[in-house]
């Protein structure tokens, strides 16, 4: 894909959804020529690597756990990665099938997606194809894909919250089952991206119902995160702040999803700035918050050094406030009907009221971006110059990775792979701050 920036006709220009006919016909635009092929080949390679990676994750988690690590003792991060891999393995092949047909249309002149096309007054021979077919195949991946992005961060956030609230995660099995429910529903809602394609309104209402059902497992997760925090001994490390920020953004972005999931409201909000706001808060910023949370938390494990805390705090507050300043106003713009993907909206008088707002958004965006550069600096600086980690388990966590040496060698553990005797969330149990997973259950120990 990067290579296509350097070819004569330029990179693919069909947007990230590469809808045909624009993507299927080289004559359609410069960006539909070789750049599109590069895009598709790049995507196919990505799909294959993600499939092989997913196979590895699933087989490893289900088949190669250490002694004593039953599935009910597995940390939630691993559960999340397992579900992510399952989603990927089952949904990406469908996109692959769609893309294969697209390649047929592009290079062999078939009519899977093409029908009744006129370019510059010339009628093409293609007949009987349906561009909507591609959208179905695309969104059958497209919706699970958003959970492929968010599920791992949900796992990370659950983990970091429990460690830094010094409390067991609230509702461990509920967390697992809600992730499972999200995975199942993920495959049944794709057409909510297609409410304005002329979809049968009855079918639309079915997809509305299924889409809104996802609010249930999502709400269970949010409830469990909040109850994990409730009366916890919270340590506000940068990782913990990003975990809490994640929950805040997930609520804000999730609620606007309910608006868009209703076909009646979606017809008005479709393709407006409201979609940008919803999607970037819930998929962009909150997914990034989950990743930042994981990086700050596991950095000491990865490099044997801490990241700078002050820079971490600045990073968090500027990003959180900045993200809300950027995306909150966009909801209002969307309600007012302002379309997305337009370079210049000045010819609409009705949107002139938003000029000031747009200017503010631009300034904040530059600022937030600068802070991300600061994070990158913090990362690489701390890799070499950060404060050294002196103890094996700086956060007082129960999970196995903190029983490895500070600088682990090949195979992670010096001796035998440790045996596991308990779940990953024994915090504040029987008057003890935490009990590692490797410690056998004591004789007089209470059950959790």
């Amino acid at each position: 894909m990067l290579a296509s920036l350097f070819i004569q006709t330029g990179p693919a220009s069909g947007g990230w959804t590469i809808y045909p006919p624009l993507s299927a016909l080289g004559q359609a635009s410069e960006g539909s020529k070789a750049g599109m092929d590069y895009w598709i080949i790049g995507m196919a390679l990505f799909i294959i690597s993600q499939l092989l990676g997913g196979l590895n994750y699933i087989a490893t988690v289900l088949n190669m756990r250490t002694k004593g690590m039953s599935m009910t003792r597995v940390p939630l991060t691993i559960w999340a990665l397992l579900f992510t891999a399952i989603l990927g393995v089952l949904s990406f092949p469908v996109l692959l099938s769609g893309v294969v047909l697209l390649m047929f249309d592009r290079h062999l002149g078939t009519s899977f997606y093409l029908s009744d096309i006129y370019i510059a007054g010339q009628a093409l021979a293609n007949e009987g194809g349906s561009a909507i077919l591609f959208q179905h195949l695309f969104w059958f991946l497209g919706h699970p894909e958003v959970y492929i992005i968010i599920l791992p961060t949900m796992g990370i956030v659950s983990e970091v919250m429990s460690v830094n609230a010094r409390k067991p995660i609230f509702g461990y099995m509920a967390m697992v089952f809600s992730m499972f429910a999200i995975c199942v529903l993920a495959f049944l809602v794709w057409a909510h991206h297609m409410f304005v394609t002329g979809l049968n309104p009855f079918l639309g209402s079915v997809f509305v119902l299924l889409t809104l059902l996802i609010a249930v497992p999502s709400a269970i997760k949010v409830f469990n995160w909040l109850t994990t925090l409730w009366r916890g001994n919270i340590r506000f490390t940068p990782a913990m702040l990003f975990a809490i920020g994640f929950v805040s953004l997930f609520i804000s972005g999730g609620l606007t999803g309910i608006f868009l999931g209703n076909s009646t409201i979606d017809i008005h909000l479709h393709d407006t700035m409201f979609v940008i706001a919803h999607f970037h808060i819930v998929m962009g910023v909150s997914a990034f918050f989950g990743m930042f949370c994981g990086i700050y938390h596991w950095f000491p494990k990865m490099y044997g050094r801490y990241m700078n805390n002050t820079l971490g705090y600045i990073h968090f507050w500027v990003t959180l406030i900045g993200a809300y300043l950027i995306f909150w106003p966009m909801h209002y713009q969307g309600f007012a009907g302002m379309p997305r993907r337009y370079l210049d909206k000045s010819s609409w008088v009705s949107f002139s009221q938003f000029h000031g707002l747009d200017a503010m958004i631009t300034v904040v965006t530059v600022l937030v971006f600068a802070v991300q550069l600061m994070f990158v600096f913090n990362y690489f600086y701390s890799m070499y110059k950060g404060r050294r980690v002196r103890s094996l388990n700086p956060w007082g966590a129960t999970t196995l990775e903190w029983t490895t040496p500070i600088r682990p060698g090949h195979g992670n553990w010096d001796g035998e792979i440790p045996e596991v005797h308990r779940w990953a969330y024994d915090y504040g149990k029987d008057g003890r701050d935490f009990i590692p997973q490797t410690e056998p259950i004591g004789e007089k120990e209470s059950s959790h």
């Binding site: 393995v89 089952l90 990406f92 092949p93 099938s97 002149g109 009519s111 899977f112 021979a125 349906s130």
Partner: protein, 218 residues
């Protein structure tokens, strides 16, 4: 039609026997236990086999995507149907036979009859290649019936795409088979482990069943 019925009956019988074998195996040795909370490694399904099961699920999803596209499209106006050339029945019998020889090869491997194993594997390779050749000849016949890539959509274009992709999966299996034969000639196949052969057999039966599904479907 009778041909397909006989094939299906034969196939059903064959798999029924396999299933009975498996159940017996399960009762005797418990190697089929997929207890996810079990702690003992050796009781679980071998990781390679398990990985292949997941991969098969993944491949099924791809063909499910293609065939559901086929269903949706076949209900639209302007759909053009095709009459399958007879040669596809030949290819069906060929691939069904190859599944049997594959299974016999695994049996020979387990009985440590390496010579027999190698020749049965070679027969499977030849049958696999024969299947691909038959498919290509079938495509040629369709092509001569003026079912082309260019122009209006229809079952023919789907058939080229779907059966073509299936053929690629068979070719992939043939390559893996050849690798296994060469390895065993070079004395590299682990005599004590039948897992690679079984994994190979699983994949081979899968592409076989996949073809039956596509055939009935298309």
């Amino acid at each position: 039609m009778e041909a397909i019925c006989i094939c299906l009956l034969y196939y059903w019988h064959y798999y029924w026997q396999r299933l009975r074998d498996a159940v017996e195996h399960f009762n005797n040795k418990k190697i089929f236990e997929v207890d996810i909370v079990s702690n003992e490694q050796h009781k679980r399904v071998h990781p390679h086999k398990f990985t292949l099961w997941v991969a098969i699920a993944s491949i099924i999803m791809m063909f499910a995507g293609l065939t559901s596209a086929f269903i949706v499209k076949s209900n639209l106006t302007g759909w053009r149907t095709i009459v399958l050339p007879k040669i596809f029945w030949v290819s069906t019998i060929v691939i069904l036979t190859s599944s049997v020889t594959m299974q016999m090869a695994i049996k020979a491997f387990k009985a440590r009859e390496m010579q027999r194993y190698r020749s049965l594997m070679t027969v499977t390779v030849v049958l696999g290649l024969a299947f691909v050749v038959c498919q290509i000849m079938g495509f040629g016949e369709l092509w001569d019936q003026n079912i082309r890539f260019k122009g209006s959509s229809g079952a023919g274009q789907f058939f080229y795409a779907i059966a073509g992709l299936h053929g690629l999966h068979v070719l992939g299996g043939v390559v893996a088979l050849i690798v296994m034969v060469v390895r065993s000639l070079a004395g590299k196949s682990k005599l004590y482990s039948a897992v690679p052969a079984e994994v190979m057999g699983m994949y081979w039966h899968f592409v076989d069943l996949l073809w039956l599904y596509l055939l009935i479907f298309l």
